[in-house]
């Protein structure tokens, strides 16, 4: 892939933890590679859609904030997800909306006031040479991202992207923007795996209790704390783990496994969180609370298809350029 070294963005400050992510790395579990990809897929695809007809183009996942970029290109950007103050050349700008940027513009993100993951997309996507068919950065595997070695963005990095003509300026209507301010989420769960290794009492407790997000929560998994849900078996023969799997070690404290999870593991699992709710979980800060609700695989399937329809049929609002 030829990369124009002049067209793109310079990283002035990388912020707390900023990663290049595309939809994820698929079909590579056989060699032990995890899927990676944006933790909040919904916010990620909205950011992309605001920049053009693109849903899975490489964008930046910004954890908490602090990212400062300098544009060396004329293009369109958008930031969605967590409420992180955005400014272009010190002028405050709205999230969930596309913005034109010019050569020399300074794009600054403050720190999240609600939610924890923001997404910055650019027209045409960032031009990242894929590794195992994906640009997704997985630090634990030292794979993917700008340098293909799993490293997060660093000051001085140059992130290439194509030149683009100014597009129409668009915004996601207020009614379709999520609200992360409650720092709580209801997570729908498809029961499965070793669910029979949990007694009815323990399952009832799990689905009627509130769990707290602990500090030990990252892109691999969110460790929760609450009433113990103890499986009747301590360990199982290691087996494949899917996105959202709820793993319960002997202490009974559930761990929801996310995008950078290990591909196999030997702890009993109760089932898996619906992918549509993974983003809500990932936006929570430590101390945030979750509750679980059991749904059938039929309900899960319908919800996925309806969500796809909702996204495809939600129109973006045009912004008058001469306001």
């Amino acid at each position: 892939m030829s990369i124009d070294r002049n067209s793109g963005f310079k990283v002035i400050q990388p912020g707390i933890f900023s990663l290049i992510e595309d939809a994820g790395r698929f079909g590579q579990h056989g060699i032990g590679l995890t899927s990676g990809g944006p933790l909040d897929r919904d916010a990620f695809r909205w950011a992309n859609r605001l920049c053009g007809d693109q849903q899975t183009a490489a964008a930046i996942e910004i954890t908490v904030g602090g990212l400062v970029l300098e544009s060396q290109i004329n293009t369109t950007i958008a930031v969605t997800g967590a409420t992180i103050p955005l400014s272009i050349n010190k002028q405050p700008r709205e999230l969930w909306q596309s913005h034109q940027v010019k050569v020399g513009d300074r794009i600054e993100l403050g720190f999240a006031t609600s939610g924890s993951r923001g997404y910055l997309a650019v027209a045409g996507g960032f031009t990242i040479e894929p590794i195992f068919n994906s640009a997704a950065t997985v630090p634990r595997e030292a794979l993917g991202g700008l340098h293909r070695d799993g490293s997060p963005l660093q000051a001085g990095d140059f992130i290439p992207c194509p030149d683009s003509l100014p597009g129409s300026q668009l915004r996601v209507s207020d009614s379709h923007r999520p609200d992360y301010s409650s720092n709580s989420a209801l997570l729908r769960v498809v029961l499965g795996y070793q669910q029979q290794a949990f007694s009815t009492i323990h399952k009832q407790r799990f689905f009627s209790s509130e769990y707290r997000v602990t500090e030990s929560s990252d892109r691999m998994g969110f460790r929760l704390k609450g009433p113990a849900t103890k499986p009747t078996v301590d360990g199982i023969l290691s087996e494949g783990i899917c996105l959202g799997a709820i793993q319960v070690p002997a202490d009974g404290q559930p761990i929801v496994l996310l995008n950078d999870r290990q591909t196999i593991g030997g702890y009993p699992k109760l089932g898996s969180v619906l992918s549509l709710d993974i983003g809500k979980l990932a936006q929570l800060l430590p101390g945030g609370t979750v509750r679980f609700e059991a749904i059938s695989i039929e309900q899960a399937h319908n919800l996925l298809l309806l969500d796809q329809q909702r996204f495809a049929n939600t129109l973006l609002e045009q912004i008058d350029l001469y306001e």
């Binding site: 499965g192 023969l237 591909t263 089932g271």
Partner: protein, 246 residues
């Protein structure tokens, strides 16, 4: 969990489906097939064969597969298929005959190892605890043909089994912060080659100069789940000639 299944396909009982197979829901777009309670040679071949059949049968409907010791996780595209269709495809794959003669399934890969106390810091202690000489440990490690039961933990980390019980050893009480790339290691009745420098708690008995994971080549791993592996001792000089680092 491993109940007998009387599977019906198109209204007919399919007698070929062995009673120990169980298909469970794993998540919104994943099913997991259980082949038995414990790993074995014949189960490993069956897992590998079923994975190959499903890859061919499902094509683009398949997002990913995770074969492991005695199970196969099947992740499918929920926008173009559903758990009913995938379950049927799994049952068809299970019903087709598998040659469980273990020597017929999986490639045989030979990995060179420089066994020594220099390259394997736990070799002496492992031998002492086993009541064997270092030479005997090295010889026993090479005698078995291992099966790749699973790949995971880190990119390219292949779990090989089963190790001769005479040289089996529990994980270290305190894992090392740094295990070098290529370290040949033992934990319980399993053995493995560390594909990259990483923390680890297995007992180190030697070094393999061959790369177990190289993203720049295709295939990026010399083995896949279901393959068979043998180890062959090499001396220090050959190890260095083959690009090994001490």
């Amino acid at each position: 969990m491993h109940n007998k299944i009387h599977s019906q396909i198109n209204g007919q009982i399919n007698s070929k489906i062995h009673s120990q197979h169980n298909i469970s829901i794993a998540g919104e777009n994943s099913l997991i097939v259980y082949f038995g309670e414990a790993p074995s040679e014949s189960i490993a071949s069956e897992v590998a064969a079923t994975a190959a059949q499903l890859r061919a049968a499902l094509g683009a409907l398949l997002i990913d597969l995770v074969p492991s010791y005695a199970s196969l996780l099947v992740i499918y595209d929920p926008f173009n298929t559903d758990h009913h269709a995938v379950r049927a495809a799994i049952r068809r794959a299970l019903a087709s005959p598998v040659d469980t003669d273990s020597s017929q399934v999986g490639a045989l890969v030979t990995l060179p190892v420089y066994y020594s106390t220099e390259s394997g810091p736990d070799l002496q202690l492992l031998a002492d605890n086993a009541g064997l000489s270092i030479e005997e440990v090295i010889s026993i490690h090479q005698q078995s043909e291992y099966r790749v039961y699973a790949i995971g933990f880190a990119p390219g980390f292949a779990y090989l089994g089963e190790l001769d019980p005479r040289i089996a050893a529990p994980r270290l009480a305190t894992p090392r912060q740094k295990v070098p790339r290529g370290a040949v290691a033992i934990a319980d009745r399993q053995t493995a080659v560390y594909p990259a420098e990483s923390p680890g708690g297995w007992n180190l008995i030697g070094l393999c100069p061959e790369l177990m994971f190289d993203p720049s080549v295709e295939p990026s791993m010399p083995v896949q789940v279901g393959d068979r592996v043998r180890f062959k001792a090499i001396d220090r000089e050959s190890f260095l000639d083959m690009g090994g680092l001490l």
